[in-house]
């Protein structure tokens, strides 16, 4: 896992590849096309790429209109603006209207780094998973991002695709087959199961490796947070003694909450710790922030040790 690729970069490559085959794909940006990595698509298909300026509400509602006109719009900007500033447009014109718009939100989480709290989306999963009709995808690495982008391009309903700014370790090779919507166990273990999403998946795998002599850690990738693979999660909880959720997102309303809901509703009473953000983020290099907030491999290992008191 030494090779690192940003999921937004993988998204940009996937968009171009898909756009070549699927003529109805169009991209929309709001003055951040350099950051959302739609540039290659826009260069090859200028008549299918739009930039609406610094206008996120217009971005999302315009995408809804393109979907009505039978296009497959990818509305792309920072996750914080896409899900926060344009929430009513997402809710009314996309989710209630149930239009097949793809909302691609880059710069999710504190992985965003130096721009600080205002630009680090930590509430987007919660905002999006509260919406009926909305599929919420949070891929773990480059290959899974491409599979999620492909899935989104074919979806008949709205999709939120959560992407990150900085490189994350490559977990899957390009030939990996994905079943989008299902959880995937990446490491077997019995002392604790870590349900992780996004960049925290690779951190959880690194932690499992570091701890393997003392603690048996199961790692489960939850890349689809809504609709949730409830039966897959219940199955993954069988035979383990503790549960940790790990996400670069608020511990409220994100993956941690989703797993807690599944456990409570199914009478699964295993000790649970939600690892995530309990405050707004701050400026700093993404890797340094991951160290500070225990989101890197060493940090997740420490969280596991503390929780299991070993």
């Amino acid at each position: 896992m030494s090779n690192k690729i940003a999921t937004r970069a993988a998204f940009g490559e996937a968009l171009l590849e898909i756009g070549r085959k699927q003529e109805n794909v169009v991209s929309l940006d709001a003055d951040l096309s350099g950051s959302t990595k739609t540039g290659a698509f826009a260069k090859e298909f200028p008549e299918r790429a739009f930039n609406v300026g610094i206008a996120e509400q217009g971005l999302v509602a315009t995408a809804a209109g393109l979907a009505i006109a039978r296009k497959k719009p990818f509305a792309c900007t920072f996750a914080v603006f896409l899900t926060g500033r344009a929430y009513d447009q997402v809710r009314t014109s996309v989710a209630i209207s149930d239009l097949p718009v793809v909302l691609a939100g880059s710069h999710a989480g504190i992985l965003t780094g130096e721009d600080g709290a205002t630009h680090q989306a930590l509430e987007d999963i919660g905002l999006m998973r509260a919406l009926p009709h909305m599929t919420v995808l949070s891929p773990a690495d480059a290959a899974e991002t491409k599979a999620c982008t492909q899935y989104a391009a074919q979806a008949e309903h709205p999709v939120y695709l959560r992407l990150g700014r900085s490189g994350v370790p490559v977990i899957f090779d390009e030939k990996t087959k994905f079943e989008i919507g299902k959880v995937r166990t990446l490491n077997q273990g019995t002392d604790v199961v870590i349900f992780a999403t996004g960049p925290l998946v690779s951190s959880a795998l690194i932690a499992a490796k570091k701890l393997e002599k003392d603690i048996s850690v199961k790692v489960v990738n939850v890349s689809c947070i809504s609709p949730l693979d409830v039966s897959g999660i219940i199955e993954a909880l069988q035979g383990v003694k503790n549960v940790i959720t790990a996400e670069d997102h608020s511990i409220n309303n994100g993956l941690g909450s989703a797993i807690a809901e599944v456990m409570a509703e199914n009478g699964i009473g295993i000790p649970l710790y939600r690892h995530g953000m309990r405050q707004f983020g701050e400026s700093g290099n993404g890797a340094d922030l991951y160290e500070k907030y225990k989101f890197d491999g060493e940090g997740v290992a420490e969280v596991v040790r503390t929780f299991l008191k070993k």
């Binding site: 300026g53 217009g58 809804a64 209630i96």
Partner: protein
């Protein structure tokens, strides 16, 4: 386009009757704006400005109408029901549990393109449709209808810029300028003048019309669809509550259903208009 051969005043009188019946049955809804918009919506659908197929609402060669001021749905439902998009029985279940006709437009209602009600979004939605039509090099048109108070929404001006940038000459936005909003007159709550000047400054072709004069509505729409190179905004001077004298220009009738006595009185006036326009 067909010439104006339908009796639009008569059809509009029917639309107002049906809209009021729905609102009365529901004891909830928005008569004021539904009535200020009724003549415009009627002309769009019955005057030959929109291509549609009530038996195939998602027909790919249709034209598009976006009711951005979604609270005026009763007038649009009355038109769609008259055209056979859904059975007219649905009128009397407006806003009821398990009904088709929701308080504000929903995409599962045949003939409705987008959910609306939260204001300002329809202009951008219309832009998106117009952009999609242009990619396909098709000739279809997009119309949207907005309240004048709605122009206070920031999203409106985002869409205004988008339409101008992409030269969306297949798009006509109509402003229902009835000068009233929930909390009072637009002049008091948040002045929006100069409406025409604002759209002009943003690069739109602007026209004005009397939103209750069918000849004026018809000829203005005909001119609007001929414009090339830029989007068109039509500022329609209208009267909130038009057609029921005690509702006209009364802000209190923005979102209120009539009681029995008021309903009887309003129906008498609307029926008279219906009979006289036959």
């Amino acid at each position: 386009m067909e010439p104006m051969k339908k009796n639009l005043p008569h059809l509009a009188a029917k639309v107002r009757i049906d809209a009021l019946k729905m609102i009365y049955a529901a004891q909830s809804g928005h008569p004021g704006g539904s009535f200020s918009a009724a003549d415009i919506i009627t002309t769009l659908y019955f005057g030959g400005f929109l291509a549609y197929d009530p038996k195939n609402p998602k027909w790919k060669d249709r034209d598009y109408f976006i009711l951005s001021k979604g609270h005026c749905a009763p007038s649009l439902y009355a038109v769609l029901g008259e055209l056979g998009f859904f059975p007219k029985d649905e009128f009397f279940r407006l806003r009821q549990v398990d009904s088709l006709l929701q308080g504000h437009p929903e995409t599962y209602i045949p003939g409705i393109e987008i959910a609306s009600g939260p204001l300002g979004q329809g202009i951008s939605v219309a832009c998106g449709i117009a952009m999609g039509i242009k990619i396909d090099k098709k000739q279809n048109k997009v119309f949207s209808l907005h309240g004048d108070g709605e122009l206070q929404e920031g999203n409106i001006w985002e869409g205004v810029m988008t339409a101008a940038k992409y030269h969306l000459d297949n798009y006509v936005a109509i402003v229902d300028r009835n000068r009233l909003q929930i909390d009072g007159s637009t002049a008091e709550v948040m002045p929006i003048e100069d409406v025409a000047g604002k759209f002009q400054a943003f690069g739109w072709e602007v026209m004005k019309m009397n939103g209750h004069d069918f000849d004026d509505i018809y000829t203005t729409l005909k001119k609007a669809v001929e414009v090339t190179g830029k989007p068109v905004c039509i500022v329609a001077d209208t009267v909130k509550g038009k057609g029921v004298s005690f509702m006209e220009n009364q802000v209190g009738w923005h979102g209120k259903a009539p009681n029995d006595e008021q309903f009887a009185s309003a129906m008498e006036e609307l029926q008279k208009n219906f009979d006289e326009t036959q």
